[in-house]
């Protein structure tokens, strides 16, 4: 998790609310309702047990993944129902790939698999240098034809955005166009969103909550390494 002086300053002004509109049309927040709010509350509560944490995290992930899939392109199509009537439906285009950022992004893989049974999944490992706090890609593995696919990039927590910026950079290096990337995220700070949208304005970002402070314990608690 990269952290800079700027970021520390930003968190001090946590009380300041920010408007999701300022990040442009490619930044989307999961339509919130009481149910989503409850999930977020449980995940942020420090008294939540690990088993509850994983259970509710998986639920929220599922909702975010479903919403991310809504960002994929589709075409109209009509089918015949068993009653013999015609239903005007729509069809999703093939050629998608999921990419998770190790380690916390992997928590979202199951959610994606539950929605798309045989989707290909690539991985990126980003680590921050202990001295410079600079994020750096250590490992990346993708399907060969990733450049021709739409990429669902999964990373649940963004506080500074550095990790994601590096990951998108590596995707672009593999020839993936910026507008083919959809970033699925659970919690992000305005600071991170600002950093990412200014770096990659054409990328679609979906999060469930925009808040000054991100629950940085997510990966530790989800995988039980705290």
């Amino acid at each position: 998790m990269g952290s800079t002086e700027d970021f520390r300053n930003a968190t001090k002004t946590a009380a300041i609310k920010c408007d999701p509109e300022e990040f442009g049309p490619n930044f989307k927040v999961l339509p919130s309702n009481d149910q989503v709010k409850e999930l977020q509350t449980i995940l942020r509560d420090k008294t939540t047990t690990r088993s509850d944490f994983k259970f509710y995290a998986d639920r929220l992930i599922r909702l975010v993944v479903e919403e991310s899939l809504n960002q994929l392109p589709f075409s109209p199509c009509s089918v015949v129902t068993p009653t013999g009537a015609v239903y005007e439906g729509l069809q999703y285009k093939r050629g998608n790939v999921g990419v998770s950022i190790v380690r916390s992004g992997e928590a979202m893989e199951q959610g994606l698999r539950d929605c798309c049974r045989s989707i290909r999944i690539g991985k990126i490992l980003v680590e921050s240098d202990a001295e410079t706090h600079q994020a750096k890609v250590v490992y990346a593995r993708f399907p060969e034809d990733i450049a021709a696919r739409r990429v669902l990039l999964m990373y649940p927590i963004m506080s500074s955005g550095n990790t994601v910026i590096k990951a998108v950079q590596i995707l672009k290096d593999h020839g993936v166009p910026e507008d083919s990337i959809i970033l699925s995220n659970l919690f992000s700070t305005p600071f991170a969103v600002r950093a990412i949208t200014s770096a990659f304005p054409k990328m679609i970002i979906l999060t469930s909550e925009l808040h000054q402070i991100a629950p940085n314990h997510f990966g530790q608690k989800y995988f039980g390494t705290d």
Partner: protein, 632 residues
């Protein structure tokens, strides 16, 4: 069964002999005093007939001592007619293999007069001195009274006093399950028809009730017996009852308050917990029997017309008037053969309590009756008349729902209690998969599961939430929300609703799930309730009622009605389904405006088979793979 065997092994000879003698005495007395029309004169049966009731033949292994028993020594009345005695013995020699099981279980059905026939002629036997040198000791030793007591309750519990799911008659099997709509098309509760049956002890009330149910040919009838409402006895009373001195026929022996309460709830269509009375310990068992109001409720009991409040509730009052001798004969048979009591006790009880109670409390109640049925269950004319009357009454109350539902509410704006999921491309895409008739089953299941999950998540967001402030591991305060109620339960409407259960379990840990089976009657096209299992305290829960598709809304309405009958507040019910027809939405919303309706799609039409158009087809069949093979 155990008990039957015991009787047939040891006691029958002694008991029967005693019985015959006593009966002769008693009937002579009774006929004089009772001032009844004299018994029809029948052919005096041979002794062989007399001694050949089933329980005699029942044992396939009568012990040797019994076989060689000199019957004439203990049966002096018969000694004179040696031919008969010989005849008697021959009935023993090749012990008939007639199964004891069937014969006795029949005899517990008090209505079968034919079995009792051998009593009729008894008083025509040569009058014999009652003080015969019968081996009294033998009777008392060989009749294991204590051992029998335990079986008494077993026998009683088999009595058809409570609503069983299946009622068998000699002609056919009637299911008292499968409840047709008990509300009209506005979802309002329609008052049931309550039939009260009163009559002396062993007059054949149950038989009349059973015959009525049989002839009515409707599938859901509740049969409530007054026997369930005996008061709990204290120790002293218990002792008295063991000596046959406790008066079970007096109005004070019944808990009329509880009876009234129960009857009122049944009349209101609510479920009731009817106590199960244990006739051995004379207490109520901890387990109660749950009954539901039905279109027809039959209430029977010896003092059924005694209480004025109860009397007011009855729509039709039937008095079963059976000859006193016949009743006594049946009672003797029931108490001695089926319940294992001894003759002296039974007669003492009859003379000191049963008969006076009949004269004082039961017979006068006849004036309240609308119909008096002489001869009980065999009176077919009377039963036919009663059934005709009940049918007319039911029709007047308008129990015909589905067709009315399908035609109403065309082209009206959708109700405010409807919550449709935002139609995102994903949801539309999922619908495209599951509506396509060519979708293979694995894909159908996969995509419907995804859709179900979304619908359930959406439904949960409609529950009440409250503000909650929590502390995060980052040390900061977070204003969040938590669900205001932790009592949420799912209820699925079989079979298609069950497909949604897993999704509910996936989102709510340890959720309780109830089930309701509603089937469409193929002849009438009406929904019928067949099975019901709900969490005990369901009234305290928010209920997510699940059905995959809602067409006319008839099944969903019935399920909602069931929940309301279990005291679930209307606003606590969420009907959740994948696909609804517009008319179904209107129907539910109109009948139950506070029930919230959640669905992922609304289709405009319903076809003549009540399928939604364009629809999904039969969701349950496609999900479970039970669609008929001829469909292309």
């Amino acid at each position: 069964m155990e008990f039957n065997l015991q009787v047939s092994l040891h006691a029958p000879v002694a008991i029967l002999v005693t019985l015959v003698n006593k009966l002769i005495d008693f009937l002579n007395l009774a006929t004089k005093s009772a001032n009844q029309v004299s018994m029809p004169r029948r052919r005096c049966p041979s002794v062989a007939d007399v001694v050949r009731p089933q329980n005699f033949r029942s044992s396939s292994s009568i012990p040797n001592e019994l076989e060689h028993l000199n019957l004439s020594s203990i049966f002096p009345a018969l000694r004179t007619t040696e031919g008969m005695a010989a005849n008697l013995q021959t009935t023993f020699e090749p012990p008939s293999s007639a199964s004891s099981a069937s014969s006795i279980s029949d005899s517990s059905d008090l209505g079968d007069v034919g079995q009792n026939e051998f009593f009729y002629g008894c008083h025509e036997l040569p009058a014999s001195p009652p003080q015969s040198p019968r081996p009294q000791s033998r009777t008392s030793i060989k009749s294991p009274r204590t051992a029998r007591k335990r079986t008494t309750s077993v026998n009683l519990s088999h009595k058809k006093t409570s609503a069983e799911s299946v009622l068998r008659s000699h002609k056919r099997t009637i299911y008292t399950a499968g409840r047709p709509p008990w509300y009209n098309s506005d979802g309002d509760y329609v008052r049931p028809f309550i039939i009260g049956i009163c009559g002396g002890s062993a007059s054949g009330k149950t038989t009349v009730a059973t015959k009525i149910i049989e002839e009515l040919d409707i599938h859901w009838v509740t049969l409530l017996s007054m026997d369930s409402f005996y008061k709990v006895l204290n120790e002293e009373q218990h002792k008295k009852s063991a000596l046959n001195e406790y008066n079970f026929d007096h109005p004070d022996a019944f808990d009329f308050d509880l009876l009234l309460q129960t009857l009122q709830r049944l009349k209101d269509g609510k479920n009731v917990n009817v106590p199960v009375y244990n006739f051995v310990t004379h207490t109520r068992e901890s387990k109660t029997k749950t009954m539901y109001g039905a279109n027809v409720i039959i209430f029977e009991g010896i003092l059924g017309f005694y209480n004025k409040e109860v009397l007011k509730m009855l729509d039709l009052k039937i008095f079963v008037d059976t000859d006193a001798d016949v009743r006594l004969a049946r009672r003797l048979q029931r108490d001695i053969v089926a319940r294992g009591r001894d003759l002296d006790g039974v007669l003492k009880q009859y003379c000191t309590m049963v008969k006076p109670a009949f004269t004082h409390y039961i017979a006068p109640a006849m004036v309240h009756a609308d119909i008096i049925v002489p001869r009980g269950g065999e009176n077919e004319v009377a039963i036919a008349l009663i059934v005709q009357h009940v049918h007319t009454q039911l029709q007047l109350r308008g129990f015909k729902v589905r067709e009315q539902l399908a035609l109403a509410y065309n082209g009206q704006p959708l109700p405010t209690s409807l919550f449709q999921l935002p139609e995102t491309p994903q949801i539309k895409g999922l619908h495209t998969f599951i509506r396509n008739k060519d979708t293979p089953r694995d894909e159908f299941i996969f995509y419907s599961k995804r859709l179900i999950r979304l619908v359930i998540e959406y439904a949960l967001s409609l529950l009440p939430f409250e503000e909650r402030t929590i502390e995060t591991p980052q040390g900061q305060i977070y204003e969040g929300k938590r669900c205001a109620s932790d009592k949420i339960c799912g209820v699925s409407i079989l079979r298609a609703g069950e497909t949604m259960e897993q999704a509910v379990r996936d989102v709510c840990k340890d959720i309780r799930i109830g089930k309701i089976l509603i089937q469409t009657n193929r002849e009438s096209g009406e929904p019928e309730l067949f099975y019901l299992r709900l969490p005990k305290d369901i009234k305290d829960y928010k209920v997510i009622l699940m059905d995959a598709t809602v067409a006319t809304g008839a099944a969903a309405m019935m399920a909602i009605r069931v929940l309301l009958d279990h005291d679930v507040p209307e606003e606590n019910i969420l009907v959740v389904s994948l696909l609804m027809a517009e008319s179904g939405v209107h129907t539910i919303a109109y009948a139950f405006p506070q029930v919230r309706i959640v669905t992922s799609a609304i289709d405009p039409e319903i076809n003549e088979k009540f399928y939604v158009l364009p629809g999904i087809g039969n969701f349950g069949d496609r999900y479970f793979g039970t669609e008929p093979t001829d469909s292309s």
